[in-house]
């Protein structure tokens, strides 16, 4: 760690914080300012002007938008996420009850997908051009270019309908044993893994190939080192940065995939909560979930950047 690396890291983190702020402006503008007068919408076309004015005051709509934004941002920073307009429960409570489920799903998915993807990625980079590489790369392209719900429906069709190994829906509430836990998680995790593994495999394959084509690897090969040694002792240490970058970036795809997967498997997570919020136009809920998701996304993307900076030896030993 030297001053240059620290400066770059500080820049990244500052940029991420700025992005969160900018995202909050966009979220607030889309959900609370641009769609028009929420009071008018609630009361309908033939509301009296007095009733409209009263509701506007009650909803805090009579102050200018920038002021409302600051008020909203301040409340959110203090942890006050508002009250859901459909259930009348505090949004923080709703999210608090669902967040552990989603985090668990993400953690289990990461636990399985990272080792599988890295093994496949490195193997197909080492044997690039072979039938193994071609099969792995083609299936990865196929998985990436179809929607997540297709992967999910096919998984249900194969494992729940044809083979009858697993239940099609998962209900986390009635879990008593480890076996039940595994069965409930199997389908969502399987679907998410397919998508994430395909992304991560492609990126880590590219990272390792980049290293294997570098002149120093040719030098090692001329020296007579075994293929295993070339990969493990020479190429991989240099590819750690790009691979860590790829892992973090791929995990950020989880945030998109989880929206579909939680809905199709009826999994009681935070993404399902948000989708329900959107269809009921429950703005406080949507705002809080959106901010949570974007913050998570930015954390992962920034982590990817940070790995890239820290692992770059040219920056480390300057």
């Amino acid at each position: 760690m030297n001053a240059l690396v620290l400066k770059l890291l500080a820049q990244r983190i500052a940029l991420a914080l700025l992005s969160v702020l900018a995202v909050s402006v966009i979220v607030f503008a889309i959900t609370a300012v641009l769609p028009g007068d929420a009071a008018q919408e609630q009361l309908g076309q033939d509301a009296t002007p007095e009733a409209l004015a009263a509701l506007r005051t009650q909803m805090g709509l009579d102050v200018p938008a920038p002021q409302r934004y600051l008020h909203w941002l301040g409340a959110m920073l203090r942890g006050d996420l508002g009250t859901s307009s459909t259930t009348q429960l505090p949004v923080a409570e709703l999210i608090g009850s669902r967040l552990p489920n989603s985090l668990l799903l993400a953690a289990v998915t990461a636990l399985f997908s990272v080792p599988i993807a890295l093994t496949l990625g490195v193997a197909s980079a080492v044997w690039r051009g072979s039938w193994f590489d071609r099969a792995a790369s083609t299936s990865a392209v196929a998985v990436v270019s179809v929607p997540e719900f297709l992967v999910a429906t096919l998984a249900v069709l194969v494992f729940a309908v044809q083979l009858r190994w697993l239940p099609a829906l998962s209900y986390v509430s009635d879990i008593e044993s480890l076996g039940q836990l595994l069965r409930a998680f199997a389908m969502p995790v399987l679907t998410l893994c397919c998508v994430i593994v395909a992304q991560m495999m492609r990126m880590s394959r590219a990272a390792v190939i980049d290293q294997l084509e570098a002149p120093y690897v040719e030098m090692v090969r001329l020296k007579g080192a075994s293929p295993l040694r070339i990969v493990l002792a020479h190429a991989l240490p240099n590819a750690v940065g790009p691979i860590a970058n790829a892992v973090a970036l791929s995990l950020s795809y989880l945030l998109g995939g989880v929206i579909i997967v939680e809905t199709i498997f009826n999994y009681p997570g935070i993404a399902k909560l948000m989708v329900d919020g959107v269809s009921q136009r429950d703005m406080p809920l949507v705002q809080a979930c959106a901010m949570l998701f974007c913050a998570g996304y930015l954390i992962l993307v920034t982590t990817a950047d940070i790995f890239g900076i820290v692992a770059n030896p040219r920056l480390r030993h300057r």
Binding site: V27, T31, S145, V161, A168, V278, A290
Partner: protein
Amino acid sequence: MSSLSTSAGRAHGVPSPWRMRLGYFGVSGWIGLAIVAFWALAAVFGPTLLSRTGAAGGGAVFAPISAAHWLGTDYLGRDMLARVIEGARYTVGVAFLATLLASGTGTLLALLAAASGRWIDATLSRGLDTLTAIPSKMFALLIVAGFGSSVPMLVAAAAVIYVPGAYRIARSLAVNVNALDYVTVARTRGESTGYVMLREILPNIAGPMLADLGLRFVYVVLLLASLSFLGLGVQPPEADWGSLVRENILALSEGGASVIAPSLAIASLTIAVNLVIDNLPGRGARERGAR
């Protein structure tokens, strides 16, 4: 683009640049092109052809594949083949419109950024970068929450979401072209910024941008299908392929064709577009531009 490949063709003694270009186009490219053309035709002419054969419901619900119903029937007993072909209009049409808007806007803004001063470039780049801080599906959900999901709104939402990506690629290509001698000559000649943008830079980034348009089309199709699958995209009674999967999801437990058919339609379209792009010439230049 064209001048480059012509000179390269002459240098290697290849008779015609067109022959060389088609030479790149492998079998998989032609298969992809055929599938894309099929769905495009289905989107344009399908509904008029089908109205005569009768796509109304009333048959058995979730009927399996038969001679009368090539893809079985849906949850109301309607012919699934007719539903999928009607859905093509929404999936292909809406996505194509949104992609054109996104790529067009992105390219124009990129030309503006490359051809005019540093301030406009910096402002546009930072501003559009901010939009990429929101994951695409989340952005779509936000817009639907705020503005509802009418078809024009879906087009606008998908266009807004994919402008930054198109801009970033077009800008990196345009900045390279902008540094070339003939652009400097044009400026010295006293040509306006608009002329430099449209006559000098645009023709030379059009090829890679068309390929990018195809890729972006795939993203838009996937995004819109996902939205419809969540019930937040195209609203009933209209249906795109995503909504068809959603409304027939109950057929899944019986392994019905009515849920598989629209899923495979989406997959065939996106994979076909990928095949076409992979077979286009100038792939290397595009990948360098994307970095």
